[in-house]
């Protein structure tokens, strides 16, 4: 079966239809992404000489969006970015041994599931929005760039309100963090996802 024929399988709502192979791809990418998020990327970002306390560390932030973008680029199915990114975040948290975080409320400490799970969900939701609004019918690179901007924006929001690690910086540095995250997401995630999707779904072009 050719890739182009696969692309034309639509539901009666006009969206790409999920097949078993798509489910397997998304699950596999989510699982591999979770392993990478836990065991590889922390070492990579540390090796790049950037820590959480420096604003230019946002230039490596794109690696945390890889699972979602690659899953959507390979499958082009509704929800695959949200599922893969959430799955990867959940798995990386479960593997980390620190599954819960403390929240201080009214002088007391309460335990909740680690907020990075929610961060993953937010990043997936932010990145997939534009594709949903365009009914999963437009896969040009510009749309991928908008997607990267949405993902970076939600990642920044999550850094302010969920994990709260960006609150410490002044506003100008926060703008720089957002721009750096966008840039790295565009280069590290959106570009390969766009390229993969083009190769897989539009390869009949000479």
């Amino acid at each position: 079966m050719s890739a182009q024929a696969q692309n034309q399988e639509l539901t009666r709502y006009g969206l790409p239809r999920w097949r078993v192979s798509d489910v397997l791809w998304v699950a596999a990418i989510g699982l591999i992404g979770g392993l990478l998020y836990r065991f590889v990327f922390p070492a990579v970002t540390a090796a790049c000489g950037v820590g959480e306390t420096q604003p230019w560390s946002s230039l490596t932030n794109g690696v945390w969006m890889l699972a979602g973008f690659i899953a959507l680029g390979i499958t082009r199915r509704p929800g695959s970015m949200i599922i893969a990114e959430s799955l990867a975040a959940l798995l990386s948290v479960l593997l980390s041994g620190q599954t819960h975080a403390e929240i201080e409320l009214a002088g007391k400490t309460r335990m909740v599931l680690h907020p990075l799970v929610f961060t993953g969900l937010l990043q997936g939701m932010g990145g997939e929005t534009i594709f949903c609004l365009l009914r999963y019918a437009d896969w040009r690179f510009g749309v991928w760039l908008i997607s990267a901007a949405g993902c970076a924006w939600f990642s920044y929001i999550s850094g302010i309100y969920v994990t709260k690690c960006y609150v410490l910086f002044p506003a100008t540095v926060q703008v720089g963090i957002f721009l750096g995250t966008f840039l790295s997401t565009a280069v590290l995630c959106a570009l390969p996802a766009w390229w993969l999707g083009r190769r897989l779904f539009e390869s009949s072009r000479p």
Partner: protein, 220 residues
Amino acid sequence: MEKAATNRSGRQSSLWFGWTARDWAVVLICGVAFGLIYRLWDDLYTVMLVEWGWNLAPTSLINGMWFMGGFVPAAITRKPGACLFGESLAALVEVTVGPYTIDVGDFGPEIYRTVYIAGQGYPVFNMVLYVGILEGLAPEYVLGWFGYRRWDWMVWVLAGAAGGLIEFCTGIWMTHYYVFESTWTFWGLLLTSLIGVGLIGGSVAWAVGRLVWRGKEERI
């Protein structure tokens, strides 16, 4: 009219998502109007919870109210993005406009709020704005996953349930309002959020859409 992009399967998507001037008017009016209603509802809600001492779990049965700024324009216009845009606009109006009548905590009409980390205060945008954006986005996905073509009761209930779920998540990880000592209140809140936003709010949105679109519905 914008140039439509056609992909290989022949489907079309336009740059402005097919919005007409009427859609813009509906979404803008509904967003602002419901933003003002939210502002008043903040006070009412605080009175219910603080002064009357109602438990948050059963009170959440009326939480579908918080979604009407997105549900109503989406039900009326049935266009991509109406839910997200309307709800975001309503949240923006809620956090920027209106008198500060009573102390409603984080719900106050302030653009900036202070977050305390290790005793030090830092200014951030009022997070209610982002809670609103998320509450518009989650139902938007459900509507979008039905291709913005199905607007029956079941789809609206699913959209509302997605909204209730994301509201529960933001209550845990963003505003921390839903982190309690009582396990029963916590899980009861999840249940009543799903019922209140999904069944009740979704049904209201479905009814609004039915009133507007009765007799005009396209067959799939």
